[in-house]
Symmetry: C2
Amino acid sequence: MKIPRVHVCYSPELFSAYAENEPVVVVIDVLRATTAICTAIDSGAERVIPVVNVKVAKDYLDKGYIVAAERGGNIVDGFEYGNSPAAFRGDHVKGKTIVLTTSNGTYAIAAAQNAHKVAIGAFVNLQSIVNWLCSFQDREVVLLCAGWKRKFNMEDTLFAGAVVEKLKEMDKVKELTDSGIAALHLYRLAREDLFGFLEDSSHRRRLRKLDITEDVKFCLSLNEMDVLPILTPDGVIKQQ
Amino acid sequence: MKIPRVHVCYSPELFSAYAENEPVVVVIDVLRATTAICTAIDSGAERVIPVVNVKVAKDYLDKGYIVAAERGGNIVDGFEYGNSPAAFRGDHVKGKTIVLTTSNGTYAIAAAQNAHKVAIGAFVNLQSIVNWLCSFQDREVVLLCAGWKRKFNMEDTLFAGAVVEKLKEMDKVKELTDSGIAALHLYRLAREDLFGFLEDSSHRRRLRKLDITEDVKFCLSLNEMDVLPILTPDGVIKQQ
């Protein structure tokens, strides 16, 4: 059986337009929220609680949780962690609950929360995402790009294109909508050198100022971990 | 002087995210509303009044206006015209006011109505649009794709990419955002055979059922007319 239809939704703001048929959703914020979540769960964090609001994140901080808060690429004042995946690698997260708020990624997760199933995807867990999607062959799939401040961005689009490419290689797609066709074309143009292709993108230009090249390279590396973070009412946990 | 920033907005629903700096806007609904508007104005129509609602269109019909109403590619029952450009070519529109409501295009025009300036663009008036944009070199530009039911579509994206290509050839773009970079890449892949490239797109598949191949080919032909329809409070008129 094939997936009846694969969409790419280029902004969380548009999600409802793609959600009519109770789809399976992959939330994508490659630079860096969803890469960070994958890393945390892969490092043994028990759960990641995504919150949209910095105020709510602060409340968790006051209760003693590990809390990460990023806005505009920077760690928010008063917090120890932002959205760098490197911060979530190590024993300090093992068995812990991590609370996370970011500029775009946690907003995208909130937008998708009522979908049939929601997973957290990034290049680092590409194959796990593809395998998971193949297990729902009668559901539409929405690859939901967090984008940048409600706008289209390139890196999330490229990851969506990579997922489409893998699904098509396996002949699992019945209908690919225009949004999926576009993402696939862009990924094919970029795949030989994702970092180079993104050099000119506006988000990369923005992040370049932050001096996080190593972080970005990690975020663009494929299949670093075999982990599938799933959204539940209690937060994001590892799919068993 | 260069245009400070060029965006492509892939859904009318997202327009407010791109409108912060009072941009100059081109509304794009290649198949077929904006091509039809260009054709009507080029044929001497005095104005085209875009209305979002079929009920409002019906009120104009009862008052004796020429009214065109399309939903899902078809002429709405009770109306003589839909959104086929062919219907707006000829002496019957000369000097007349035409009222138009379509599935996506008139909604996109409504979304942009408070922008600094709004023009109506399609492949048939590409060069006129490019020339016009070059006259506002201190304004951000938003190429606003009508899309399909709030979703991304390919043909509007390709036209946006064609505009970006022309502006870049003339070295008029200071910053191209990710959305513009994506449209440009897609246009470069498609430009040699727009019709063939769109054959697999979902909108083309939908329209194929309507048996309007000649219409589509016309809509994809470049620079058929030297006309610049501009949105004013009294409707869309020809820029003098």
